[in-house]
């Protein structure tokens, strides 16, 4: 089956991202396809490169990044939600005249159309959030 995943909450405060990570790993292990993982609302904060969690804790942005690299996953951060919350890639940094960017490797910033497309193209769209 082809899954689309939506993550609506940021890392650590909420378990949504952890649950989604476990779900995606299990789905891949069972041979399912992940069409796209879309990060919305505070979920965009899962793409930050600036988090420094304690050493004995998980680093969710890095875990997503590694999982994406290993499995060729499409991790998309909503541009409108990201701009509000200070999540920028290099292009967005330049476009808005900011002096730094903070998107972890493996994530990309794009529009809400990517969420709708995931709904159209996936057999199931699964939301992790509040």
């Amino acid at each position: 089956m082809k899954f689309g995943i939506v993550i609506n909450e940021g890392p650590y405060t909420h378990q949504a991202s952890d649950s989604a990570l476990q779900f995606v790993k299990s789905a891949l292990a069972k041979g399912h396809e992940i069409f796209r993982i879309f990060f919305y609302h505070d979920g965009v904060n899962n793409g930050t490169s600036l988090g420094v969690p304690p050493q004995d804790d998980r680093n969710l942005p890095n875990e997503w990044s590694e999982l994406a690299e290993k499995n060729g996953l499409d991790l998309v951060v909503c541009v409108a939600a990201a701009q509000r919350r200070g999540m920028l890639d290099e292009d967005e940094m330049k476009r808005h005249g900011k002096d730094s960017n903070n998107l972890v490797k493996g994530f990309r910033i794009s529009g809400l159309g990517q969420l709708i497309e995931a709904g159209i193209q996936s057999d199931r769209l699964v939301t992790f959030g509040d």
């Binding site: 809400l112 709708i116 159209i120």
Partner: protein, 138 residues
């Protein structure tokens, strides 16, 4: 922006108050984008989400943008199935008189103005949700 002609039933569930969290505003942003995709769109307002459609919202005292007028523009985006859960209204002491009148112009009927807001009971709403291909809950 057609996706190879696939048309799915998309339902956007709105269950939270308009202010206090950003879910209502960002849900509306999704719906406005979604309208460009030629999909079959329904909106549902239930639980505290029914407050999103109330008339005469005034956000001056809380420093938030009042985005409630955007709902009345949904008809222009060809969104004409907006369901409000009857029990959610009753539980909050609200009636349809407290809600904005939401209309659309029917192009198949000489652009006659028609209601796009429907108050439905919980049982009927569950049937409507059950018929959807994609449900996004905010």
């Amino acid at each position: 922006m057609e996706e190879e002609g696939i048309v799915k039933k998309f339902c956007y569930m709105n269950r939270k108050a308009p202010y206090g969290t950003i879910y209502a505003l960002e849900s509306l942003e999704v719906v406005l984008i979604a309208a460009a995709f030629d999909q079959d769109i329904s909106l549902v307002f239930a639980d505290d989400g029914v407050y999103q459609l109330t008339k005469n919202q005034d956000t001056d005292g809380i420093g938030m943008k009042n985005f409630s007028k955007t709902y009345s523009a949904l008809g222009d985006y060809d969104i004409k199935k907006i369901y409000v859960e009857k029990e959610s209204l009753e539980e909050r002491g609200l009636t349809t008189d407290d809600l904005q009148a939401l209309k659309y112009e029917d192009e198949d009927d000489d652009w006659a103005e028609k209601d796009s807001l429907f108050v439905v009971g919980r049982d009927e709403l569950s049937k409507i949700i059950n018929e959807q291909d994609v449900v996004l809950s905010f």
